[in-house]
Amino acid sequence: MQPLTTDDNFRGKLTTPNAWDLAAFFLVMGIIALLAWGSREMALPYVPGKTVPSLSPDPWHLPYYALRTVIRMGAALCLSLAFTLTYATLAAKNRRLGPILVPALDILQSVPILGFLSVTVTGFISLFPGSLLGVEAASIFVIFTSQAWNMAFSFYQSLKTVPRDLGEAATIFGLSPWKRFWRVEAPFGVPPLIWNIMMSVSGGWFFVVASEAITVGKTSVTLPGVGSYMALAIHRQDLGAIGWALATMALVIFLYDQLFFRPLVAWAEKFRVELTESGAPPESWLLTIFTRTRLMGRLLHLVGTLPAQLAERFTRPRRIRRRSRRPIRPEIQRTIDLAWNAIFALAALYGLWKLATFVSVIPLHEVLSVFGLGLATLARVTVLLALASLLWVPVGVRIGLNPRWATRVQPVAQFLAAFPANLFFPVVVVLIVHFRLNPEIWTAPLMILGTQWYILFNVIAGASAIPNDLREAATNLGLSGWELWRRLLLPGIFPSLVTGLVTASGGTWNASIVAEMVSWGPTTLTATGLGSAIARWTEQGDYPHIILGIAVMSIFVVCLNRLFWRRLYLLAQTRYRLD
């Protein structure tokens, strides 16, 4: 067998650039130049209250707007990654902080994303007085909140499940904690983290679009971007411009997938721990180009091994540290623990008090009515998920059982899940206005417009993973029709369906804030619910009500997760696991 020789490139041979290098060089430099140009515009002067800089409805400006949107996404992604590496590591390794950091993440995951925007935008603006940077920061922060919690959770899970033998090997050979992190623990977490980043970014487009044009009380902000262009188009009722915006977004997502995620996923393959080769490994034309280049390949290798290199430069090589086994006296240990717990308890009490004083201006019956609004949104979410499952489960299973179809439809479904559904809202609203439909019912589908695809592509994945011998056995036994579904297909896709539904449910709650109140020109359609209420209070700048609304929605989501989804998930993991 001829072993792969990526390493031979670096062993003292003369590396003259080849044609692949040239192509790759221009590609990389072009992207860097574009990013630099775009980000220079981010710090333009800005005074609150004015909608500067004004947007142009000319579609020729769209590529530039798209670039700005992409930069926001990129910045948020970098922040999320930094957050993930620190937060998850602390949560997994610090005995005292871990117990509070993990549940905190769980709560953060259930806070409606756009709620963060309503609450923080004025703060960010005052942080950078006289510059648009504050607004940019608020927008980036929103995208950050849509990604960071998931990513940190995924990485935390990985850190907690590093195989015991790998950990022991690292200890036996005396790796320092720093080296251990970069050589053993971080690589182990790469594949799930990359997958999570991909999912988070695809959810993130929705929030970029939503956060580019927002009004909080007196503050009305428009950032140049595809989302704000769309807002302008809606305002001017310009169907042509809407079409251009949709096309641009589609192109952006396509490029992101091809230039960023495919190479990343293909690269992450090598970090998989299963030591057997499974199926067809993911491929990327871009990664192929880069591994074929000589110079770029070398550069890439350098970047890839940078953490390890740095680790070696800056940590003094030393003899194996003999672990000092001088444990702190147990009573002192217990006192410190007690002190910590007391601090946490005090902080929690302070938080409760703060929340209470903030919300106490609202009379109790109104608080109860907010819970009522929550029930209305809950009803919508539930009905929508049920309807979407009824539609997509049969379709997804049909597609999944046919490998040829599955490989074709799967990327389309993933693309649709990434496409920010809020860009489609105007199209639907035009129809509702035109046919004079009841907004209480007909705005509801908007909530699930973007998130239904999670159900579809998870069902496809689940159906194509049903082992062939089970299908053959079913055929052999003559199972067909409803019996086949009940005995094989539905149980077979159950775990994937639950995963899809959990993702879709979270997304649908988030979407309710923009989907229960939509406008077309001067017309605004409102459906009764918690989402529209939060949107309205945000417009009015009514902070106590915003906080109350966010808190209530978080309570709903947390309860739903704990009491319903987690149980289903457990059932899927035990009873319906196929392996």
Binding site: M1, P3, L4, T5, T6, D7, D8, P163, D165, L166, E168, A169, T171, I172, F173, G174, L175, S176, K179, R183, V184, P187, V190, K270, F271, R272, V273, E274, L275, T276, E277, E312, P317, R318, R319, I320, R321, R322, R323, S324, R325, T574, R575
Partner: protein, 435 residues
């Protein structure tokens, strides 16, 4: 090299290790283990699963701290991972994201070795172990045998004085394992590696006799040394030689010997650690024993070889047969009892009846469960109820394991039924077993 132990490499004194059970209760894994390993010696630690042999190896390596007693290496006490001690793992423990070369270099990373020398030494180790040409391959491209060679190279590259091996051949197929054993012993005999001592954890008796200069046999619960067998055969050893066979027989006999004063179990009390033995395997073994050429009595190494059973699998089965009164083990032989013979001759339904009868009569836990279910209104009880009772005698994990075993036996004998998702035991559809 002198085969007699000249200088002392490692010394263990009255090692104890226990794992904390609920509320301060402790579950003893190792008790009073004393052992010395000399220069130029290969020592095999042999024992059934649950004898704490892997724990003992981890204490020696400094991965786990002993609960009591001392480990000293080269005269100094061991308090953590020690330079000069390397380990080979049963599961290889290779980093899948590093190439073969990078995996081997990992062992040198933490030491004061400059990059160039690191590379040179790693390449040498790869050469030595026969991995030439695979330097830049990733572990997933290699077969199991080649992966374990990487494991060996990674351990040998640090030029350890003491090499620890945790069942290094048990995840490999028979042929591959044999090749690797031969290669290792050649390196050792020809002194091409600077290693001065090897400790091998094994549950394979033949492997231990093949490799070791001394076999240390560990008994179970708590783990302690029950016997030491020196092996004076010269390398390379011939598995078919009478002296070799004799040693294997002796070790089998030692491993099945009961401590003095313990009589043959006539039924076992509630908190007894029931061995991991599935009913289908038990039935298979009884059938095999009853057939030609054994006709009710067999030599242990022979039947183990015949049935393709390692010690880890054979001994729990034997113990279960003794508990249930279907067989007796004595001096390296196993013999079916009269009820064992009638079990073998019965048809499936009758076998179930015999099994149920013996189970209720000889295993108190099974009888207890049956009695509780009989008395309870609705004839149902949650498994936690019995788990809690067992935890008076056993650790949490062990209680769970024992309950799993008795449930498997009881379901097969149809003396009670079990709903796994609800965790409920009941008398729902037991056909037989009414008293």
């Amino acid at each position: 090299m002198t085969t007699s132990a000249s200088a002392e490499l490692l010394r263990l004194d009255s090692i104890r290790k226990s794992y904390r059970k609920t509320e301060g209760d402790e579950h003893l894994v190792l008790d009073g283990v004393a052992l010395a390993v000399g220069e130029g010696e290969i020592v095999a630690l042999l024992g059934r699963s649950g004898s704490g042999k892997s724990t003992l190896l981890r204490i020696i390596s400094g991965l786990v701290a002993p609960g009591g007693g001392t480990v000293s290496y080269g005269g100094k006490p061991v308090t953590g991972p020690v330079e000069g001690v390397a380990m080979v793992f049963q599961t290889f423990a290779l980093m899948p994201w590093l190439t073969v070369l990078e995996n081997v270099e990992l062992g040198l990373l933490a030491r004061r070795v400059p990059a160039a020398e690191r590379r040179r030494r790693a390449l040498e180790a790869i050469d030595l172990i026969g991995l030439d040409g695979f330097e830049s391959a990733f572990p997933k491209e290699l077969s199991g045998g080649m992966r374990q060679r990487v494991g060996f190279a990674r351990a040998l590259v640090v030029e350890p004085d003491l090499l620890l091996m945790d069942e290094p051949f048990s995840a490999l197929d028979v042929l591959t394992a044999e090749t690797l054993r031969t290669d290792l012993i050649e390196l050792w005999i020809e002194r091409r590696i600077p290693t001065r001592g090897i400790i091998l954890v094994s549950h394979n008796i033949e492997e231990s006799v093949l490799l070791a200069d001394r076999i240390v046999i560990l008994g179970s619960s708590p783990g302690r040394i029950v016997a030491e067998v020196p092996v004076h055969l010269p390398h390379p050893r011939d598995r078919e030689a009478p002296a070799f066979r004799k040693l294997v027989d002796d070790v089998y006999a030692l491993m099945t010997e009961r401590p003095r004063g313990v009589t043959r179990p006539e039924g076992v009390p509630l908190g007894h650690r029931l061995p991991d033995a599935s009913v289908s395997r038990l039935t298979g073994l009884i059938d095999a024993l009853a057939r030609e050429p054994y006709r009710g009595r067999a030599d242990l190494p022979e039947i183990a070889d015949d049935q393709g059973l390692s010690v880890d699998h054979l001994f729990p089965l034997l113990e279960a047969l003794e508990i249930l009164g279907f067989a007796r083990v004595e001096a390296g032989d196993v013999e079916l009892t009269p009820s064992g013979k009638s079990f073998a001759e019965a048809d499936i339904l009758r076998q179930k009846e015999i099994f149920a009868e013996h189970l209720v009569r000889r295993v108190s836990l099974a009888a207890h469960i049956r009695r509780v279910l009989d008395e309870r209104p609705g004839n149902r009880a949650p498994e936690e109820r019995f788990l809690r009772e067992l935890e008076d005698y056993l650790s949490e994990d062990e209680a769970q394991r024992v309950l799993r075993v008795v449930i498997e036996w009881g379901r097969n004998a149809e003396i009670f039924a079990y709903d796994e998702s609800a965790g409920v035991l009941s008398l729902e559809n037991p056909v037989e077993g009414e008293e």
